[in-house]
């Protein structure tokens, strides 16, 4: 039996009970009284900043008022009208950077309304019911291919199905869900929520799922274009940036995304091996997810090494605090230069950096940290050549996800914008409305809240 001090990479550092406690829901569900108290704090702001801050523009004050008045299911419907993956977004959105960061009570007293947890309360209420809250419009006879069953693709497929189109949903993997299924820290999406949510969403009907279909290998954009009336590409970012450091090919050097996916798919987390000394390279959410979960699996020392200064970290302040509260050390202005070892990694050598205004440079001074496992979390890239024009390495889109090819739309992480579930959902939804309008030759429906437009004009 391994423990925290077992050298190298080992499974079973912690017992089953401790693992279960460590990976319990980060933000447990509110009970009805807690929800009532939390909801009561909402001021029902005019043209509320939280709505503006939400990429899917959920009418947050309205759904909270519906919770206040004892109608959590109607509150859930208000959310789903804008964001069909509102359940997952309630769990994984960096609310501190979005709705809750914009909440006037954050400004007033540093304690925003708990919008994320209230959203979970409302969406859970709806999803706990039998059946699905949306009906399909009469069939249009149009067929649309959606490539990628992640947040963007699922959102797009649902909205298209709702508008009466028949959707074929392709995904490269065995299971749908994309990063909701494979890419989020386990303590943010407990149980089998991602899979349950997809099942619930698919209940609308009219969506045929085709797993194990990889774009560029089993299907092509051109091919889909000829078989379908429209195509939506939401394939995410498949490539992982390479680590430019000596010894980056040593055993123990891994992609963080693979580690996170393995955690989510594991039936028994005690079987997952983790290093005694773990170093995560990067400064974003993926870095935090990998570091925190390494610690929760029983690693003795976990360090996040980020090459720039702390204020440049992609992970929010909340995420950074979460990491440090779990015992993760964050080292900034340090870039990897070498991974030392004898076959397997034993040590990482980091060089301090400084930015004198002319760009980030190594100072020449280095330090060494014990590292038997090194996770690379230095960004993902779009690698697919699908015949679509690119811009800054991602699929170029204009308007509601229109690509350079007529009849082909795209959204989510493979297009510009923040790589967040909620942004993918917005992209997919808006592209679906544009596809619908184009196919039916009618103006596109507005999807955002328009509470304050008149006043601001």
């Amino acid at each position: 039996m391994a423990d925290m001090l077992t050298p190298g990479i080992a499974a079973g550092r912690l017992g089953e009970d401790e693992i279960a406690r460590n990976f319990a829901d980060l933000h447990p569900a509110l009970d009805p009284h807690e929800a009532a108290v939390a909801a009561d704090r909402c001021y029902f702001c005019y043209d509320a900043p939280c709505v503006t801050a939400c990429p899917t523009e959920i009418d947050i004050p309205m759904f909270i008022r519906q919770i206040q008045s004892g109608r959590p299911e109607e509150a859930g419907k208000t959310i789903f009208d804008q964001n069909i993956l509102g359940g997952m977004c309630a769990r994984v959105c960096p609310t501190e950077d979005l709705c809750e960061g914009a909440c006037v009570r954050e400004k007033a007293e540093g304690k925003p309304v708990e919008i994320g947890r209230l959203q979970r309360y409302a969406t859970d209420s709806v999803m706990a019911r039998q059946g699905h809250p949306y009906d399909r419009a009469p069939s249009t006879g149009k067929r649309v291919a959606v490539v990628g069953a992640g947040p963007a693709g699922l959102s797009c497929a649902h909205r298209l199905a709702m508008r009466g189109h028949d959707v074929t949903l392709f995904d490269a993997k065995e299971k749908p869900g994309g990063l909701n299924e494979f890419g989020i820290a386990a303590y943010k999406s407990t149980g089998d929520f991602a899979a349950d949510e997809v099942t619930w969403l698919m209940q609308i009907g009219g969506i045929e799922l085709k797993p194990r279909h990889t774009l560029g290998r089993d299907i092509t954009v051109e091919g889909l274009k000829s078989q379908f009336d429209a195509v939506f590409v939401g394939v995410g970012l498949a490539g992982v940036n390479a680590l430019e450091a000596e010894g980056a090919d040593r055993d123990g050097v891994q992609d963080a995304v693979g580690f996170i996916a393995a955690l989510r798919q594991a039936d028994d987390m005690t079987s997952l091996p983790v290093g005694r000394n773990v170093v995560v390279i990067g400064g974003g959410m993926t870095a935090v997810d990998a570091a925190v979960q390494s610690k929760l699996l029983g690693a003795e020392n976990v360090t996040i090494a980020y090459r720039r200064s702390q204020d440049r970290m992609g992970a929010s302040e909340y995420e950074q605090q979460l990491a440090t509260s779990k015992g993760v050390r964050i080292v900034c202005n340090a870039q990897p230069v070498a991974i030392h070892g004898n076959g397997a990694a034993v040590e990482i050598e980091l060089e301090y950096t400084a930015d004198d205004g002319t760009g980030l440079k190594g100072t020449g001074e280095t330090m060494r940290l014990p590292a038997d496992q090194v996770f690379k979390a230095i960004g993902q890239t779009f690698t697919l050549d699908a015949g679509l024009e690119l811009e800054r390495g991602k699929i170029k889109v204009t308007g509601a996800g229109r690509t350079s090819l007529d009849g082909v739309w795209a959204g989510g992480d493979c297009t510009a914008g923040d790589d967040l579930t909620v942004v993918g959902v917005a992209d997919g939804r808006d592209a679906a409305e544009d596809i619908h309008a184009t196919l039916m030759n009618q103006p596109a429906a507005t999807t955002g809240a328009e509470i304050g437009e008149a006043a601001r004009a």
């Binding site: 009532a36 108290v37 005019y46 043209d47 007033a108």
Partner: protein, 434 residues
């Protein structure tokens, strides 16, 4: 240190905080606990006539209105007067008074509107050593159906008649407790005074239905599917009670008649407000029923500290201080002109002032694309709604325009002198200003 001792129509108590006649004062056990906790006085739960006592319902007696976090804003009740034998109550009262001579103990009484009934009970109450009596002409539920409680309080002639009987057959102070379920509170107060009452106390509870169960379609509190109106009290009724108190305090016919204030008093501040409007003592029920007897500590400490701050040495220094400032609408100064001002540093940009003003008032607040809210002086009538709905205290305030300044709304210069509706040119009945 302010002196909180109270002499209310000769009834002395160490502080002005009394527990009102209600469930908390139903028996010796509770009253002893109340005195131990520091209450200055107690009005014992209303006594009925000799004979088999009344019975109460055996299901819920109370209904409630909540604010956020189940904060109790108002309770209604359908409980009747004491359901214990008269003799038992009298014995207990005598024992408690003997043990607590410095505290006020007042007997609340409700017997049929017949001279014999009052003549019979009053000597027995006197024997207990109680400091005075309070005539329950207020309870609006149950007993009113039997011609008592508010059924008496709604007929000034009866009030005067019964009060006179009491002054005839009882030689200690007689306080008449008034019902608010009436259109003009000055009439029953005047009747009590005419009958020789030493004081009035108000308000008793307000006829109410607190909620309707939408599954069973029955009002709450519900008894076997049915409900009846109960008496409403608690913080929610305070504004109604204070107006009634003030009306009595400032009416020439009743001005100076001692008042014991009741109605949603929960903190020292509530008490101070009632006292400023003319109450020489205050009575508390709902707050004690919600939080227990210990709240009196906060009330005493708070009132004392506030009096020290303001330089009020005694309770008498406070009582009635605000009464001269309660007036009729027609005498309000129409040359007093204010404008809302928003403190941009305090503003949290919620926009509630904007929504309220834009949708329901005078379109006098502008909103910029970056959510800055500013007052449009040309439109602002100074209604105060923005101040009321703003969640940030002191963020929006009303600033007075000085004489000589121009009101951008009317284009007129603010006059320095007082002028009211009675002399306003738009008033057909105006008397020419001299």
């Amino acid at each position: 240190m302010a002196d909180l001792t109270t002499d209310f129509v000769g009834i002395k108590s160490p502080n002005p905080f009394w527990l009102a006649s209600a469930p908390p004062t139903d028996k010796e056990y509770n009253v002893r606990r109340a005195f131990e906790a520091g209450w200055g006085g107690v009005v014992w739960k209303t006594l009925g006539a000799e004979g088999p006592p009344v019975v109460n319902v055996n299901g819920p007696r109370y209904g409630v209105i909540y604010g956020g976090d189940r904060r109790v804003l108002g309770i209604n009740n359908i409980e009747l007067i004491t359901d214990r034998p008269l003799e038992v109550n009298l014995e207990e009262m005598a024992r408690v008074k003997a043990d607590w001579p410095d505290r006020a103990l007042i007997a609340s009484i409700m017997v049929p509107c017949e001279e014999a009934a009052w003549k019979s009970i009053l000597p027995r109450v006197a024997e207990t050593g109680a400091d005075g009596i309070e005539l329950n002409f207020g309870c609006p539920h149950g007993m009113a159906e039997r011609g008592m409680g508010s059924a008496v309080g709604q007929v000034p002639e009866y009030i005067e008649m019964v009060t006179r009987w009491c002054k005839t057959y009882y030689d200690k102070p007689v306080i008449v407790k008034l019902t608010p379920n009436i259109t003009d509170i000055r009439k029953p107060a005047q009747a009590a005074k005419n009958g020789g009452a030493d004081a009035v106390s108000l308000i008793n509870t307000i006829n109410s239905i607190t909620s309707v169960n939408l599954d069973t379609m029955s009002p709450e509190p519900m008894i076997d599917g049915k409900g009846t109106h109960g008496g409403y009290c608690g913080p929610a009724v305070k504004p109604i009670a204070m107006n009634m108190v003030a009306e009595i305090a400032r009416d020439p016919g009743t001005h100076g008649l001692p008042i014991s204030g009741i109605g949603g008093i929960s903190t020292w501040r509530d008490a101070a407000e009632f006292m400023a409007l003319g109450c020489g003592s205050v009575q508390v029920c709902t707050a004690a029923m919600t939080y227990g007897f210990r709240i009196v500590e906060e009330m005493k400490a708070g009132l004392s500290a506030w009096m020290d701050e303001k330089g009020h040495a005694t309770i008498d220094d406070v009582v009635g201080r605000a009464v001269p400032n309660v007036t009729d609408w027609q005498y309000l100064n129409l040359n007093y002109i204010t404008k809302a001002r928003i403190d941009q540093n305090a503003c949290i940009s919620c926009g509630r002032c904007f929504a309220a003003c834009e949708d329901t008032s005078h379109q006098a607040i502008a909103m910029s694309p970056d959510r800055k809210f500013t007052v449009i002086d040309e439109e602002c009538v100074a209604c105060n709604l923005c101040v009321d709905v703003c969640p940030v205290e002191n963020c929006i305030s009303m600033v007075e325009l000085q004489p000589g300044e121009v009101d951008p709304r009317t284009g007129k210069t603010v006059p320095g002198e007082y002028a009211n509706w009675t002399t306003h040119p738009n008033n057909p009945a105006a008397t020419a200003a001299e």
